[in-house]
């Protein structure tokens, strides 16, 4: 039987925080299967800590396969999973996030309705939540100005989109659904610590956008991300001192054509 979506949950050192994510994951899998979508459910643990390994073990029945790897590089892990799975589409989810339960069905519906097959799909909204906001919790409908929790509305590469914005900061989270063949065509770059280059998702977004691959959002879907102490969406990479791999020709300004003598 052909697989519609291979959904891959990445885990590393989430520890106890993997519990709510796995419960959310269980819900999304149940809901998607109930809608008649054929799923291949895969977990991958990259050099996990003991707690994370134990937590995932408690949910082992959820998975068709759990891969244990020691690549210590999320980009390489994703590439390995793309080769290991069989679905027409691949959806990547990260092990400390939560997702609306219809993410997979809604994104598959959007993908199937899209005339251009090679499209990357993102949730429309991302809720960055900070559990520490409980200290400034509002009893009304207006959140405290001190609350860190906020909602990001992701963008589609519509005609008004200026792809150069992506050179300054990442615009989409790692939560994507895309054809497996597209992932094989555009593998994630590996971490290059010597040159300070990494940030697999940002780099992959740059590569695909510069190659003309559309990125679109799926209406009425939300991805929920726990804010880490260093912040979110690229902040952790900045804290690590990393910058993304830039594809050939991706720069803020066009380079002047120079003669061979000048180039030397």
């Amino acid at each position: 039987m052909s697989v519609d979506i291979s959904v891959v949950l990445n885990l590393h050192a989430e520890g106890e925080l993997a519990h709510p994510s796995l419960l959310s994951f269980e819900r999304i899998v149940e809901r998607t299967r109930a809608e008649g979508v054929t799923l291949e459910v895969v977990g991958v643990l990259d050099d996990p800590d003991p707690i994370t390994r134990d937590v995932v073990q408690q949910y082992a029945d959820l998975f068709d396969a759990i891969h244990l790897v020691a690549l210590r590089d999320l980009g390489l892990v994703r590439n390995a999973m793309v080769e290991a799975v069989t679905g027409e589409y691949v959806a990547f989810l990260d092990g400390d996030d939560l997702w609306c339960e219809d993410w997979l069905t809604a994104s598959l519906r959007s993908a199937r309705a899209e005339p251009q097959a090679g499209t990357v799909w993102h949730p429309q909204f991302v809720l960055f939540f900070d559990p520490a906001d409980v200290a400034v919790q509002s009893s009304g409908s207006t959140p405290s100005s001190l609350a860190a929790t906020y909602v990001l509305e992701q963008v589609s590469t519509d005609p008004a989109f200026d792809r150069r914005a992506l050179l300054i900061d990442n615009l989409w989270t790692s939560n994507v659904l895309a054809p497996r063949e597209l992932h094989r065509t555009f593998p994630y770059p590996s971490l290059d610590r010597e040159r300070g280059l990494g940030i697999e998702d940002w780099s992959w977004n740059l590569t695909t956008v510069w190659a003309g691959v559309p990125h679109r959002t799926v209406p009425d879907t939300v991805h929920m991300i726990r804010m880490k102490p260093e912040g979110s969406l690229g902040r952790s990479n900045i804290a690590r001192g990393l910058l993304p791999h830039r594809p050939q020709g991706a720069r803020l300004l066009p380079r002047l054509d120079r003669g061979p003598r000048e180039q030397s």
Binding site: E101, Q137, A147, E153, R246
Partner: protein, 343 residues
């Protein structure tokens, strides 16, 4: 300055000024705050127009009034108001200001969508000063980078964006978008997941629909960078940037430890294959020119990063690194005398 008699003044308040005051100002409150005016029986708008502004009296609701070059518009600078009044005396030549309708529309839109209570809750100094929140935000809060709940506003970004309305305020283009509450389907989805992770509702169980909203392209909100304006400024100076020179302030070029050819190119007229980036100074604060061993570098030769930042905070090194990475020059000449490091 030549003063006119009060009776004549009552007759000579310009029509456009009265229209503007009627739209924005609170004459009753002016009278309640100025009992001498109230006791004299003067018309509050006429009194403020002819004498009150010069005397430093505040007209509640009025942001600024000036008459210059046949235009009338809102402002908050009383000094300029006085000077203009003195220059023109009683002979006003007023013509419709094309900005006026856009500014009035902006004010109307702000009044309609602003969440005053949330603004006061977030700005305790405004609440303590008992200032009307919309008035505060329009006159100063917006320029101070304060957020008005209920609205998204972008200044200094010229390009049109879907779902945003372009209006004018304080002589600038303003893109404004009334704050759309989060769709109910999303609120519901978050509540469902909160059974697994209560932290999702940490800001308040009832706040999900009114959480702060950020558009992914609002780089202002994320890095404080007006990317479109920054790129436009760069493109006005160079089509290429194979060399980028970074200095905190323009005057420090005089002591820049760089190759002579770099300095010579800095002093050369445009177009150049070099970009001069000033990171800790506004253009208006830079000297008109700087003398270097290789020639004079004019103020206009540089891009001023702070001009494209939402706040006057200096960009952190990480943002600068990303900008340089995105520019992709062949060489970067960096110089910061504060840290005595150069590369």
């Amino acid at each position: 300055m030549k003063r006119c008699r009060r009776g004549a003044a009552r007759l000579r308040i310009p029509h456009h000024a009265r229209r503007l005051l009627s739209l924005h100002a609170d004459g009753d409150r002016y009278l309640s705050e100025n009992l001498d005016v109230s006791a004299s029986g003067s018309d509050p708008f006429v009194h403020w127009w002819r004498t009150g502004a010069e005397e430093g009296r505040r007209m509640p609701g009025v942001v600024r009034v000036e008459c210059r070059g046949g235009m009338i518009r809102a402002s908050s600078v009383r000094n300029r108001w006085r000077a203009l009044l003195g220059r023109d005396g009683r002979r006003w030549r007023l013509e419709p200001d094309p900005d006026f309708a856009l500014e009035a529309a902006f004010v109307r839109l702000v009044h309609r969508h602003a969440d005053r209570r949330a603004y006061l809750a977030a700005n305790l100094d405004v609440r303590a000063a008992d200032i009307e929140p919309v008035e505060h935000w329009l006159t100063s809060g917006m320029l101070q980078g304060r957020r008005m709940p209920g609205l998204d506003v972008v200044l200094r970004r010229p390009e049109e964006r879907e779902g945003w309305v372009r209006l004018r305020w304080l002589g600038q283009d303003v893109l404004v978008r009334p704050h759309e509450p989060l769709p109910e389907t999303i609120e519901r989805a978050v509540r469902v997941q909160a059974q697994f992770e209560p932290g999702l509702l940490a800001a308040g169980p009832g706040t999900v629909g009114s959480l702060r909203r950020v558009d992914a392209l609002d780089l202002w909100d994320r890095d404080g960078l007006d990317l479109a304006g920054f790129l436009a400024a760069i493109e006005s100076l160079t089509r290429s940037a194979s060399v980028v020179v970074v200095v905190p302030e323009l005057a420090e070029l005089a002591s820049l430890d760089a190759h002579d050819d770099v300095l010579a190119e800095l002093a050369a007229p445009a177009p150049r294959d070099l970009l001069l980036l000033v990171t800790r100074q506004l253009r208006r604060d830079a000297p008109r020119e700087v003398r270097t061993p290789a020639g004079v570098v004019p103020r206009a030769a540089a891009i001023y990063l702070l001009d494209h930042r939402r706040s006057a905070e200096h960009p952190d090194d990480a943002l600068l690194a990303r900008i340089l990475h995105a520019l992709d020059p062949d060489a970067v000449h960096g110089f910061d005398p504060r840290s005595a490091s150069s590369s």
